[in-house]
Symmetry: C2
Subunit: 412 residues, 2 copies
């Protein structure tokens, strides 16, 4: 339980990793940008709990950065996985699972007439823009400035090692800003293949933002006017906000949508869904991967979606998400701390006022992790079906102490 002893297994593994992995770790799971006290290496997960390699247990509010939807090692998913693994996973072609899963997506996602499967969320967003280009014969993709759509050269947040040509056909607009969207459409006039937009704004380090209905409506209209594809990137939000598509409640249906993360409760899978207008284009592009037809991940996805629907899991996540949000809001008020909780309650983000360098957020997260609550100071978090009211109450005891500390430090 002593996190600072220099001989912790986490420290030992970091030292070993430093020698054989560039920078010791990379990508979004790199713990280096996190505040003091965060482990880099994990040993196991179960339900809404996570254990690091030194045996410390956490209530997990990252859910593997999205994939864990029902909870770690959810029995019905693990049973489906085990059954499929006994048969076969990676074969010379798909199994019956591919058809079942495609049928399930088409049955549950109103815009979807078809589905294709991949491994990474990036595979799904990249396939989406490729289908849009194939279907329209045009090149420009309108994307919101600062949005994350994956980590391939055309979209990764860093331009290190990326050429200008990789992004030659991206035209930027501001999320929820109709004028900027229209300006982007005007700039790309005659060559617009698609508008690609996240289910909601969930950019790093800034308040989250749900789509304004008129903005969503205008995006749909522009695509209709110019014959472009409206692509919704559901990779992060999909299955946590809705099964059918995050913009359904706004009455807006995309032509294409990219899915991954939560689709198979942690098993590697991504999907592209589309309507009949883009079916022919989707059949003409060439995308593939050695493991894309892996039946174990597809069996996991079928079980995940079935369980999510059977348990009304999204309503549960909304309920406990609201409990967490309300609890923290009350505590913040009581301690005189100004903070902002934005976005959907099941994907919480907590940012502090007057915190330009995120020092307050870091202190808060640091106090939480040392008391066994794994939160993130700048990235949206994720709830799961496995979080219970008592897990939230246990968490709120910790956040109360963390906010009290913060209040005393910033008053001092």
């Amino acid at each position: 339980m002593n996190q600072n002893i220099v001989t912790s297994l986490d420290q030992q593994l970091r030292s070993r990793a430093e020698k054989v992995v560039p920078g010791g770790m990379y990508g979004h799971l790199n713990a280096r940008p996190l505040p003091p006290g965060y482990p880099q290496f994990f040993a196991k997960g179960e339900g809404c709990h996570l254990w690091d390699v030194d045996g410390r247990r956490y209530i997990d509010f990252m859910c593997s950065w999205g994939p864990i939807l029902l909870g770690h090692k959810y029995p019905a998913v693990e049973e489906a996985v085990e059954r499929q693994r006994q048969q076969g996973d990676c074969l010379n072609g798909p199994t019956e699972r591919m058809v079942e899963l495609a049928e399930k997506l088409v049955a549950n996602i109103p815009h979807a007439d078809w589905a294709m499967f991949q491994k990474n969320g990036t595979d799904a967003t990249t396939s989406a823009i490729t289908v849009a280009r194939a279907g329209t014969g045009r090149r420009k993709i309108l994307v919101a400035r600062g949005a994350y759509h994956g980590a391939a050269p055309w979209c990764t947040p860093s331009v290190v090692g990326v050429t200008a040509e990789d992004r030659a056909h991206l035209v930027h607009f501001e999320f929820n800003n109709i004028e900027s969207l229209e300006a982007a459409a005007e700039a790309a006039k005659g060559d617009i293949a698609a508008i690609l937009v996240a289910a909601f704004k969930h950019d790093l380090s800034v308040d989250q933002m749900l789509p304004d209905p008129p903005f969503a409506q205008r995006a749909r209209e522009i695509c209709n006017e110019v014959g472009a594809a409206l692509i919704i990137d559901e990779v992060r939000a999909g299955f946590r906000l809705s099964v059918g598509g995050s913009w359904e409640k706004l009455g807006i249906r995309p032509d294409l949508a990219a899915w991954s993360k939560a689709i198979a409760n942690g098993y590697p899978l991504a999907a592209l869904t589309g309507n009949d207008r883009f079916r022919d284009a989707a059949s003409r592009i060439y995308v593939t991967g050695s493991f894309w037809m892996g039946a174990v991940s597809m069996a996991a996805a079928i079980a995940t979606i079935d369980e999510l629907l059977a348990t009304n899991g999204i309503a549960h996540m909304e309920r406990i998400g609201t409990r967490l949000r309300d609890g923290i809001a009350e505590q913040a008020m009581r301690h005189g701390i100004r903070l902002r909780q934005t976005g959907p309650v099941q994907m919480p983000l907590i940012l502090f006022d007057d915190d330009p360098s995120f020092a307050k957020g870091a202190r808060f997260a640091s106090e939480a992790i040392k008391r066994g609550v794994y939160m993130h100071p700048r990235h949206n978090m994720f709830l799961s079906l496995a979080h219970t009211e008592s897990d939230i109450d246990e968490t709120l005891e910790v956040t109360d102490v963390a906010l009290a500390r913060l209040a005393s430090e910033y008053r001092a």
Copy 2:
């Protein structure tokens, strides 16, 4: 055993898939381009055998197009997978398995000072060129015409939905042709980030070709002269031809190498290895994926490499590959059929003389599959540790009949 009844499960699944998957199937596992008699859907795999959804059993010479190296459901790999799955797979960071696997690659691959992990072979080749560009500050990638390096816009074999800019910085040469390599280097002068070349030429529908030592040497020299990265794409050949790198026996060491397919005996994983010259660049690019740190695939890779080394599996594949090649050569001679068997014996390719439309190849493969031998008429095949001498002998009985048929038809 009746493959032509219209109510076969394979036919039913194809009809259902037609409705919910564009074109019914896509990518390299699409059975449509295959000759009559090939199933699209599979039920299970075990050792070197594969069963389709209608219960027909095949001796499998595709090994899931490469991933199955030790045989389907190889016990030591499945045990490692099961053990890891009981702990955790997709968590908030890597497990100890990541460090162990990176150390294992560095210990066994002479050029490798570090490793990074991904999911698709395409992720590994794309990361490789990104690292090369980051490390050199240059843009051009020299690639062999017709080589397959993945299915992202910059490299996929089809240009449908791809823009000219996606390939703006590729400069082509002919494999094993020093003059064309030098011409490409001259054309890209001052801006060469890398030469990217497959472990050997394994392009679809043409004879395979091992690298000529002077060609390999010249590629290394050019990279040294201009400060570019030599990248070997080991995705298809890696772990089947060697563990340390396919060009080691030529005395040529790359700066970067991309690995996938066979690395984890069918579990989804890819890796990029590199030397210290490119370590800093590799630490500066941003690549990531939701499932890249999945510990189950890493545990599978550790077990796969251990077993491959412990069993001297590559020597076994060479031995049985030679038995297959010699047997078919003898049969072809005896039946008066002219055919070419090219490339490494453990990755066989059989092409027929005077067969511009591949009709002979298709007939041969069709006769083989209906007798329970799953071969490919135009793509290289794959042997595994699970193929025994008696499997080869059983196969040779089938190929003998298939070649006899072919001889009688083409004599007629």
